[in-house]
Symmetry: C2
Subunit: 152 residues, 2 copies
DNA sequence: TCATAGTTTAGAATAGTTCTAAACTGTTGA
DNA sequence: TCAACAGTTTAGAACTATTCTAAACTATGA
């Protein structure tokens, strides 16, 4: 048999829950993260195409429900590593729980507090103007806009 | 001796750490909150004029350092009651810790993550335009802007 | 002054997250 | 191919911020 690279077709079919696509593996490699079973499964769920908002717990539930065993600690580690690598963006809308967004482009959010639910607002949509210069010695890192909404 | 109202001059001089001003007492009364020693002390610290940003812990430290004994649970209760009453506004900038702002008017914030430090940006300064209509069944409650800054 | 409803509190409990150290696994080089 | 090693995962402990509980306390109105 040919030399095995880190992840084989056998691995994929054996742990197929989170459809491995090129993008998951490619993203991991590009970030210098070893393509382990756990990271591939999580990447498979996160990057399967549509933009997603997850919490550590929601993602852990999801991967578990898919029949894959990944510890909650690993989910936390992975979310942070992916964020570090620029594959995810952390969204702060709730003191007490962290959300991660697979859309890392410039955009903002609607946040439905009652349900802990986020909806993307494309970056070109909202315009924030006249942001004042920050005090001496500080530089703007990012401008976050959260449109808090309620059931009408 | 004349009938004592809830809070006497004696109370004030005895527990004087947080200079009782009309505004603290008046605010409590207007909100239907009993002017207890604890609430008056906390109101005294919070509403002494300048706008302030506190966390439960920072306020608890402050009141404790002032030589006044108030439990942390009471600080939490009080911050929430004041918020409920519209005397404070809760600011979400950090998943994991809640900030409360004595400025309840329309305004936004600089947030220095490294130090957990907030700076007000007056309401008229920043303009947020083209906020899209929220999805069917939802109504905009508030638009929060957080300008995250770093030491340059 | 008394009764009562509202308030405070210590300490236990909880939620979300991070840490630890031991077991495991992907990768590399021979 | 395989040993060795660095990187990874994990269970469970630990930690932080916060909320809960139930008993003691206090402001208020009669």
């Amino acid at each position: 048999m040919a030399k095995e690279s880190g992840v084989t077709a056998r691995d994929v079919s054996r742990h197929g829950a989170g459809r491995l696509h090129a993008s998951g593996l490619a993203r991991l490699k590009a970030s210098g993260l070893r393509p382990t079973r756990q990271r591939l499964e999580l990447a498979g769920l996160l990057f399967r195409g549509c933009d997603r908002h997850v919490t550590a717990e929601s993602l852990h539930d999801e991967v578990t429900r898919a029949g894959v065993k990944v510890s909650l600690a690993t989910v936390y580690n992975t979310l942070h590593q992916f964020t570090e690598a620029g594959l995810l963006r952390q969204v702060v809308v709730d003191a007490g729980r962290s959300y991660f967004d697979t859309n890392v482009g410039d955009h903002q959010h609607f946040f439905l507090e009652e349900e802990g639910y986020l909806i993307d607002i494309p970056g070109e949509t909202i315009a924030v103007s006249n942001v004042p210069a920050p005090p001496e010695g500080l530089a703007v890192d990012r401008v976050d806009v959260v449109v808090r909404v309620k059931r009408a």
